[in-house]
């Protein structure tokens, strides 16, 4: 037994001392590790802690028409941000923030949670394009909510009502898929890039370079002192299109309420003057993130509003293909003296093929190549197809660019199909049946073409075989590093006999004469020529079975028109889905061509050119002036050069919805 004063074991007390020593050595090691061995790492980390890079967003370049009129510009907006380098409890503040920004508190918390695993320097983008009172809320709560901030952003202002929407395209936040592609490797998450149309094709030109401001901040995210370094943003460069806003307005109006596409091109250069695709969408909805429901509606719409049908709809060209057939037939020397008697149909390879005229209980009678074109006689072209054979048809069609991309400077163009023996063997491992050639002869069967292909091919035939590559920007206006590379040559000369050229173009002019299939589309005083097409979307036999649901499979109407008929300045291709009859498409095309011709006739350039210098007119004038004695009887006379300069001739000053 031990007394109360029995001292505790000295060994154990000493042991405690050694434990304390061990603890202190451990702590000293901890200090040594941080301050000596890893000091450089933590010094660097401290630098990053202090300096925050605040981005300065660069505005995208404007998009202009061929005369420099504004089509797309920017407007300034503010985006509400949550800074996560502040030490505040974001979830606790979520209710107040949500109330001030008119958001659902759950949405705010979801965003905070969503960003939880993102790098800390990346702010949370809470709400874009905030209203003035929301801006005021952020300003007023700088002290209570130091983590809430806003940044000035430039948003795209697109023309109203989907004007030129498909050609322009739209912008959006760069997607993860895009970031993995080499051409986007220098982009950062959150960057706004072109997602379609020229916004995508010329993104490199349009997109500016974001600048940054290096600021000293404390952990509450408050800037301390003056910015250390400021790299100003470099604005994107403007993009000048070949589109003419006035003609585009006319084309948009002509397509109002219809489904399909219009392409208007200058076949001498390949410049696209107008491009319409219907139905359209409002790209302004994409400037701010589009709601899921609206997006679903857009992508599930059977009329495919997001598709640029001018370059992405591949459909049977119908009778417009007969122009290419005619070129092939004449160049091969088959069609010149060919005469066919149309009784409303004929038998080829044991099958009866009807001519469209039987639907009107008529016949074409004796048909030559000219009548075959202006009356669009199917029997004539069945016979021509039989005589040419698929190989020769395919050779000419391919020469004129069918079944391959035109090389237009827009993304996601489709190539269409030009069938041939090899094509069928390759894709279906089947032999070509001679009977299939007959359908191809009138632009049916496996053949599929886009409006841009037809405009280009028929424009080339009317230009004596000069096939150009279409483009929406003049490469001369672009810096060399953004000129798109295309495997399609800018211009090819396809040999064409001038006699054949005259025959075809004259017959095309007859199409819009009282003799032709689109007589009503004749334009007084304008040398308009073209070819109608009515393309079945399914076979007649299948159509009979679907008697109750015919509307879904109504015929597509086509028209490809040129003005003037030889060496045209403009070629217009119109596709009207479910348009029923080619002559209806011809009216649309005529509307566009008529406007074009009117605008051209109003150009005083032709007068001005008669003067000594281009752009000025010589005028003679006489006037009175006072004599030296005061009586007003001195007569003067003189010749003056009036400089017309570049008077604004255009009707519109900018695209609809823009000033």
């Amino acid at each position: 037994m031990f007394g109360r004063d029995e001292k505790p074991s000295h060994i154990r007390l000493t042991a405690v001392q050694y434990v304390i020593l061990a603890i202190f050595l451990l702590l000293a090691y901890g200090l040594w590790r941080l301050q000596v061995s890893q000091s450089d790492y933590y010094s660097a980390a401290a630098e990053q802690n202090r300096i925050r890079e605040v981005p300065i967003l660069a505005p995208r370049g404007k998009i202009l028409d061929r005369n420099g009129r504004t089509i797309v510009e920017n407007y300034t907006s503010y985006t509400a941000l949550l800074m996560r380098d502040s030490s505040r409890d974001l979830n606790a503040d979520a209710d107040l923030i949500a109330e001030g920004l008119h958001m659902d508190p759950k949405e705010v918390r979801d965003k905070i949670r969503h960003f939880a695993y993102m790098p800390q320097f990346q702010p949370i983008y809470l709400k874009e394009d905030i209203t003035l009172d929301e801006v005021a809320f952020i300003e007023a709560h700088k002290n209570e909510l130091p983590e809430l901030d806003m940044i000035r952003a430039y948003r795209r202002l697109y023309p109203q009502k989907g004007f030129l929407a498909h050609l322009i395209g739209y912008v959006g936040e760069v997607s993860e898929d895009m970031l993995n592609q080499p051409q986007f490797e220098f982009y950062n998450p959150g960057d706004v890039v072109g997602r379609s149309g020229v916004e995508l094709e010329y993104n490199q030109l349009l997109m500016g370079k974001n600048g940054s401001r290096q600021v000293l901040v404390n952990s509450h995210g408050k800037e301390v002192g003056q910015p250390l370094d400021e790299k100003p943003a470099v604005a994107g460069k403007p993009l000048k299109l070949t589109v003419d806003v006035d003609l585009q307005i006319a084309a948009e109006e002509a397509m109002e309420g219809k489904n399909g596409a219009i392409v208007a091109m200058d076949p001498r250069t390949g410049e696209i003057l107008a491009m319409v695709s219907r139905p359209t969408y409002d790209p302004n909805d994409f400037a701010i993130r589009i709601g899921r429901a609206d997006w679903q509606k857009l992508i599930s719409d059977p009329n495919k509003p997001l598709l640029n049908k001018a370059i992405q709809a591949q459909l049977a060209p119908g009778s417009t293909f007969k122009i290419i057939m005619a070129a092939a037939g004449l160049q091969e020397g088959v069609a010149q003296n060919m005469h066919v008697n149309c009784n409303g149909g004929a038998v080829f390879y044991g099958r009866y093929f009807k001519c469209w005229i039987t639907a009107r209980h008529q016949v074409h009678g004796d048909v030559d190549i000219t009548k075959g074109i202006y009356q669009s006689c199917d029997v004539f072209f069945y016979t021509l197809a039989e005589k040419l054979g698929i190989s020769r048809i395919a050779k000419y069609a391919t020469e004129f660019g069918l079944g391959q991309k035109t090389g237009i400077d827009l993304p996601d163009e489709v190539s269409g199909v030009m069938p041939s023996e090899e094509w069928k063997l390759r894709n279906f491992r089947q032999k070509w049946f001679p009977g299939e050639t007959i359908s191809v002869g009138i632009g049916q069967g496996a053949i599929a073409a886009t409006p841009i292909q037809l405009a280009r091919a028929i424009g080339a035939i009317a230009s004596e075989g000069r096939l150009v590559r279409p483009h929406v920007t003049d490469p001369k206006d672009l810096p060399p590093n953004v000129v798109p590379v295309s495997r399609v040559p800018d211009e090819i000369k396809i040999p064409m006999d001038p006699q054949n050229w005259t025959t075809i173009t004259d017959a095309m002019a007859d199409v819009v004469s009282p003799l032709g299939t689109a007589g009503l589309s004749h334009i007084q005083g304008v040398d308009f020529a073209g070819k109608t097409g009515t393309a079945q979307t399914i076979s007649n036999a299948a159509k009979a079975k679907l008697a109750s649901d015919k509307s879904r499979f109504r015929d597509n109407a086509w028209f490809v028109g040129v003005e003037p008929r030889r060496n045209p300045e403009i070629v217009v291709c119109v596709l009207m889905e479910a348009g029923d009859e080619g002559y209806l498409a011809a009216r649309v095309a005529a509307q566009v061509v008529k406007f074009y011709a009117q605008k051209q006739s109003r150009q005083p350039a032709s007068i001005a050119k008669k003067g000594n210098s281009p752009g000025s007119v010589e005028v003679g004038a006489v006037w009175n002036s006072q004599n030296q004695n005061g009586s007003p009887d001195k007569l003067n006379g003189g010749r003056f050069q009036i400089d017309l300069g570049k008077r604004p001739l255009a009707i519109a000053t900018a695209a609809p919805g823009l000033q």
């Binding site: 505790p8 304390i20 901890g30 200090l31 941080l34 000596v36 790492y41 404390n218």
Partner: protein, 363 residues
Amino acid sequence: MPRNMSLRDFDWVLVAFVLIICTLGVIEIRSATLHTKFAGVHVKQVYWIMAGFGCMLLVSLVNYQALLERVPWMYLAGVALLGAVLVPHIGQKYLGARRWIKMPGGGHLQPSEWVKLILILAVAKYFADLQSRELSWTDFVKAGAIVGVPMLMVLAQPDLGTALTYLPIAMVGLFIGGIRWKQALAIVLLAGLAMPLAWHHLKDYQKQRLVSFMAPDNDPQGAGYHVRQSKIAVGSGGIWGSSSGSQTHLAFLPEPHTDFIFAAFSEEHGFVGALGVLLLYFIVLMRLTQNAQTAPDRAGTFIVMGVVAVLTFHILVNIGMVVGFMPVTGIPLPLMSYGGSSVLFIFLALGMVMNVRMRRFVN
């Protein structure tokens, strides 16, 4: 004052080292709060230190034997206060934990701090009264219960950090009181079994702190923020210290004048300065253990060693947290961190040590 007892017997060497550490603390508090809303608190800290010094003198005068006589009552009162804290309306809730009792006159009392002092005395009394060199199992369980009951009550507040500071009192008491290997093994086994259960009962923020302690870089701006910022502050100090002290001064370091004062000090004065402070603490602790050895009786030894245990634990947990070895628990660094309770507690504890020392020649 009894005979052969005077202030000359005060451990003035210990007091000198303690005051050096306090001074360094005050200077650092001033530096860390210079341009913040806390500017000027270093003056308050000086007042607290002066008040603490006064308390130390007072406590040293009351015979610790008299205190030990009343320990059962003090212990019961302490437990009662801890119970009162848990009762709504009496206990004040702040940041989700019920830790304070509102006092008449607007003050707030946090009983769990003062229970620490009572526990040192209670454990000392219990082991001093034991007559055997080796602990029996019953003694072992009883000693555990003395510390365990208030500890569970503090855990219920919930205040994990303070509850854990009770542990070293029990551990040192048991160790010096003659714990057997089997008993130590039983503690380890019990702790092992309790671990998953305890995890289950931890609050979300406590779990988060522990998780972020394990992998602070996964979430540098979230729960791991404190740990990472503290390590950056210490690390960027280098060997001789960072002249700008940007971590501290640009407010990246959280609470640079309270829990993270050692990080702020290490940033400004580097490895050399930090090691110097560690050395000062080591000297203080060694000096205290020496006083434990010269104590007039078992109870005196246990009292001093209880103080040593609490101080060592505070230093280990706080500096361990600052250098990234320990999770964030909100335990201040004794003598340096700003805060009235912390300063008063340390000086009262030192007062008890002086009390024991002054009576070393009393048989």
